[in-house]
Symmetry: C2
Subunit: 234 residues, 2 copies
Amino acid sequence: MFYQPDYKIFSNCQTCDDRSCASQTLSVSELELLSKNCNEAKFEQGETILAEGSRTSHIIYLREGLVKEYGKSGLQEEYILQVVKPHSYLGLHSIYSDTNNHYSYAALTPVRVCYIDLNVFSQFIKENGRFGYEILSSVCNDSLNNYHRFIDQHQKKINGKLADAILYFAIVIFGKNKFDLPLSRKELAYLIGTSRESVSKQISVFVKDKIISVDDRNIKILDMNRLQNISKVG
Amino acid sequence: MFYQPDYKIFSNCQTCDDRSCASQTLSVSELELLSKNCNEAKFEQGETILAEGSRTSHIIYLREGLVKEYGKSGLQEEYILQVVKPHSYLGLHSIYSDTNNHYSYAALTPVRVCYIDLNVFSQFIKENGRFGYEILSSVCNDSLNNYHRFIDQHQKKINGKLADAILYFAIVIFGKNKFDLPLSRKELAYLIGTSRESVSKQISVFVKDKIISVDDRNIKILDMNRLQNISKVG
DNA sequence: TTATCTTTGTGATATATATCACATTACCAT
DNA sequence: ATGGTAATGTGATATATATCACAAAGATAA
């Protein structure tokens, strides 16, 4: 919470290593326009990148780091919709509804993002069908993934939900069997829709059963087969 | 289950009364192309329009009637993702993943649909940015609605969930306080993620409290304020 | 007609999980 | 140091809801 975002005015999207699939459909002149309307910023772990209810004046592209997309409407408990990986746009789904963001975004690790002017972004979609096609594609896939996760969560018990979450981090986010969980136990509970205590207890059970080993937030999968089975049967 | 879909080979999308927002961005020549690649069909209540796992060879446009979008993966219970209103495309989100539909679609009322060739549809998206923009917009809004419903469901108790569902039909689907529920109690349970028995009991409570009156599947809201309050607090 | 199946309501019981309570540890600021 | 706050683990209890069991009503078929 101590560092102010560090803005760079000039960016060069043509030479950017972190370009999105969609931006690869842009012409040279479109990329120039993008560069002129694109500002980079950094956030530290824990910082809020975008708050629910804020104006959708810019599209945010996540170059580096992990972000949680979460809601916290009114009196309700926080709910983490998903953990967003690099090379995705944040909150695309909000730009067509009203003019406000429907979810909040916070950095789970140090993060680099680009702010892209919404008008320029919309112009690309309207005038470059292939760009729109890529954006549409990513929104659709995102939706499908989230729908599946939601339904799974609804139908599984805590052991299944936790197995899912661990597998999600191991396979989708990190691609390794040993990783540092970027969430507190409380946040993990918000992600899988249970209570902190239940998460703690279920982790203890998995450890006792030698399915995983845990050292603080470092998790190692010891028995992938059993974990996947729990996820299926859960 | 007794009527075979009744296919019409010729259609005229230019003069269609049920045209989607997106199709209104199409040029005359594009509309002609659409007409040539568009077949109408009818389904009776209860018939399956599209099954999970089937090939996404066509896009289906819902002209008339109500459809349930549901999943039923493997051993799991059925889960109704949403009730789809007329003038929407069915299963748009599935066309970019693999080549299969991820959810099933069944008619809740008599239904009229149009099958649109997927290649033609994709061509419109890629070549007509405004068409893509409209499609993207509808996918985004759909996603947001579903995300909100999911989170609400996770955090509310049965009374709140049922209140939500009744308000959803009254306000969004029918626009009246008195309507015929197009779902059985069992399906209603699948929609809000509980058991049939719990739905029955909660309905009885609402009736006893004079919040709604019920005659079979006909529902009338007697006390809108209290119902909305239960939905909020639930 | 009778028989079978589906839908629905409702009471009794079982159970998973939330909640409460408390202890421990670590981290930060003064 | 030292006090305060946040994160975590774990046992006891409360509770919402699923599950089971059964009855009644309608629909459908023989």
